[in-house]
């Protein structure tokens, strides 16, 4: 299957390793991966801050870059959800509404794609250690993907999965929320870090670059030893 990779701006600039792992993983699973060159950011930072008009420019660019794709895969639940929301954003624009519907209907978050499109639950990954999983909010609640990552992780050889207390609580990222409401965000991410430490896990795994940057950045600042990994990196470890 020919997969058009929606890399996300966080991966493109800061989490190159996640991008690489995603490509290698998909190729290992028999997909041909292409990177539509015209891609920019999905527009979510501006959209979620209320700058809907400003957000529409990059969104249009993204629609054009991806409208001819066979299937679109993103290593991020939140960004994949933004693509799924495009028809709502362009509901009053007859031209882009139709295009947006096309893009939305073929967009998948990485683990959802592997489990529900490729029908694979064991990707042959191996990683020694104890891990806990942070279910990011947009991915579980808005995109509705919660079981796929768990299924895939449960089949990683050598990995012991432990439950994260209060896992359903947001880590405090929320895009611009993390800087606009910095002190509230700090309390939220601290609670997430504390819950992770309680589990005694070696790894905290997530499927969203933003959350991981937030939790990982706080872990690092506090000097904690837990390694924060994107699920693509875990699934590509063999």
């Amino acid at each position: 299957m020919k997969v058009s990779l929606f890399a996300t701006c966080i991966v493109d600039m800061f989490q190159t390793d996640v991008g690489k792992a995603t490509v290698e993983l998909l190729e290992r699973l028999g997909c041909e991966v292409v990177f539509p060159k015209g891609q920019v950011c999905c527009g979510q930072p501006a959209y979620n801050s209320g700058y809907v008009k400003d957000a529409k420019e990059p969104m249009k660019k993204m629609i054009e870059a991806f409208e001819d794709a066979e299937v679109i895969v993103a290593p991020s639940g939140s960004c994949a959800f933004m693509f799924r929301e495009y028809p709502t954003v362009f509901k009053d624009d007859p031209v882009y509404f139709e295009k947006a519907k096309k893009v939305a209907s073929k967009t998948y978050e990485l683990t959802d794609f592997i489990v529900n499109v490729l029908n694979v639950e064991d990707v042959g990954a191996k990683l020694e250690g104890k891990a806990t999983y942070h279910p990011s909010c947009h991915m579980t609640r808005l995109l509705g993907v919660s079981e796929s990552p768990k299924k895939l992780l449960s089949n990683v050889k050598g990995l012991e999965m432990v439950d994260l207390p209060n896992s359903y609580n947001c880590c405090g990222f929320g895009g611009t929320f993390s800087v606009k409401m910095g002190n509230i965000s700090e309390q939220m991410v601290d609670e997430k870090v504390d819950s992770t430490l309680q589990t005694g896990a070696d790894y905290l795994i997530g499927a969203d670059g933003g959350c991981l940057m937030n939790i990982g950045g706080r872990m690092q600042r506090r000097g904690e030893n837990v390694k924060v990994l994107h699920i693509a990196e875990v699934l590509n470890h063999h």
Partner: protein, 477 residues
């Protein structure tokens, strides 16, 4: 009390409350308890999603036909011998109620919890008219005797206090024996004795209204303490104050919504008391008021009808959204500076009281969607917060200029892939000197707030898209 507590900024309130470890401990444990209770109670019902869809349908139907049902309700209340008053503003409502109190020469008034009476500052108005007002719900009562502390939760107004703090208030204000325990039952028993005499000597009883039933002109009160039953049966005059949207067509819908309300609020199948009353006492009846007034309050609600925000009026005031909100969890209800706190407050307060004082509330959310997921009548709360933000930015022009410029740059950068690619390259070069060991611990501009508490990853030397170009060549595609 009006909808607003004080003139502090949101930021100041948050700062103060983040440092209140007592409050935060009480809120976190209450939230965990209420959330679990709600989920268990919802599971017992079977297909909760079907119930939610039904609840949403009922509420939307009422809002879309509000004029019809209000007319039917008013007609049936009058048919049952009650008086109905439509109050356009808070002042219209308090003027009317003051007038009733004056006519009845009332000295003492007992109240059963009602958010809308807080919203319209009814207690102050009645005190002005020379009346003593006694709150009779345990939570409200605690707040009232504790120097008029403010409610911090729409269902459990004293949620920010733990039992020990309540005991301290009782010792201080109610001559509670300091040797006695801080056990909830013991404390409640003490209040019960104190309040008994207040019920027996009150001239007027005032209640809120969980739901009004249009087909019969009845009002329904859902309580656990039985105080609403006392308020509505002992005093000779009863006044019920309701928000204009709080009604259902028939008893059939009432049953559905009461079920959802109590399960969502506190995880109960049913509350201890569901009182349904129709008009004043009828000949031959042994209890109930001789005179009944229903005050239907608009106070800004009709301005919400027919707008993008109409669905907020579906709210049945269960507080489920508050009980799951990770922001409320840390800042508590007082930070919202409104009697309506949490996600429902962040949406409703700016609509009722304007952006001037409340333009920060729609940003007090990470848009995690926990509120929308918990809402029993499917109000898309996180989407309404987004709509507020859009309005604040695009219509009200209240966004900070620096932020607006940044977003313009973002839009420009995103409008062309080459500008985007160049921009990203420049951005990484600009921040590169700030990084040490692959991280940035102290950044300028938008990075400042981030790096105050977190490290920021240094941009990679090789961007993903450059790696991919090489990778493509290597795999010879």
């Amino acid at each position: 009390m009006s909808i607003q507590y004080n003139k502090h900024t949101f930021k100041d309130n948050v700062e103060e409350n983040l440092n209140n470890s007592f409050m935060r401990g009480a809120v976190v444990s209450a939230q965990d308890r209420l959330r679990t209770g709600r989920i268990n109670a919802a599971e017992e019902l079977g297909d909760w999603e079907e119930w939610r869809a039904h609840g949403e349908e009922i509420r939307q139907h009422v809002l879309n036909n509000l004029d019809y049902y209000l007319h039917e309700l008013a007609e049936n209340v009058e048919k049952a011998g009650g008086h109905v008053f439509f109050a356009k503003t808070a002042k219209d409502a308090t003027d009317y109620i003051q007038e009733v109190a004056t006519k009845k020469n009332a000295k003492k008034i007992v109240k059963s919890k009602s958010m809308v009476t807080e919203e319209i500052s009814l207690n102050e108005a009645l005190e002005e008219a020379g009346c003593t007002v006694v709150e009779t719900d345990l939570g409200e009562y605690i707040l009232q005797i504790d120097n008029h502390d403010k409610p911090s939760h729409i269902v459990a107004p004293a949620l920010h206090k733990n039992a020990q703090q309540v005991k301290d208030v009782f010792v201080d204000k109610l001559d509670y024996n300091p040797q006695k325990s801080a056990e909830a039952g013991e404390l409640a028993r003490h209040v019960r004795t104190t309040l008994r005499n207040e019920f027996l000597t009150a001239d007027i009883g005032i209640t809120g209204c969980n739901f009004a039933v249009a087909e019969s002109g009845s009002i329904c009160l859902v309580t656990n303490e039985g105080n609403a039953g006392m308020v509505t049966t002992i005093p000779k005059t009863q006044i019920t104050v309701m928000g204009m949207e709080r009604l259902v067509p028939t008893f059939e819908e009432l049953e559905v919504l009461v079920n959802m309300l109590t399960r969502s609020a506190v995880g109960q199948k049913l509350p201890s008391y569901v009182n349904v009353m129709t008009g004043p006492r009828k000949p031959g009846e042994t209890d109930g008021p001789e005179e009944f007034h229903l005050v239907i309050v608009d106070n800004g609600r009709s301005n919400i009808l027919g707008t993008d925000f109409q669905s907020i009026l579906q709210c049945i005031r269960c507080g489920a959204c508050v009980n799951v909100c990770p922001v409320y969890r840390h800042i508590g209800g007082h930070s919202y500076n409104s009697i309506y706190s949490g996600p429902i407050g962040a949406v409703l307060t700016p609509l009722l009281a304007g952006y001037e004082d409340y333009k920060e509330l729609p940003y007090a959310s990470s848009l995690c969607g926990a509120c929308s997921e918990a809402c029993p009548v499917k109000i898309p709360l996180h989407e309404l917060l987004l709509k507020h933000r859009e309005r604040i930015v695009e219509q009200e022009g209240k966004a900070p200029i620096s932020e607006a410029m940044l977003m313009k740059a973002f839009s420009l950068g995103g409008s062309s892939s080459s500008i985007y690619a160049t921009g990203a390259k420049i951005a990484s070069r600009v921040v590169a000197p700030l990084s040490k060991n692959g991280k940035i611990s102290k950044g300028p501009g938008p990075l400042k707030a981030w790096t105050e508490v977190r490290d920021f990853p240094a941009p990679k030397k090789e961007r993903f898209r450059d790696w991919f170009k090489e990778h493509e060549k290597g795999s010879d595609k």
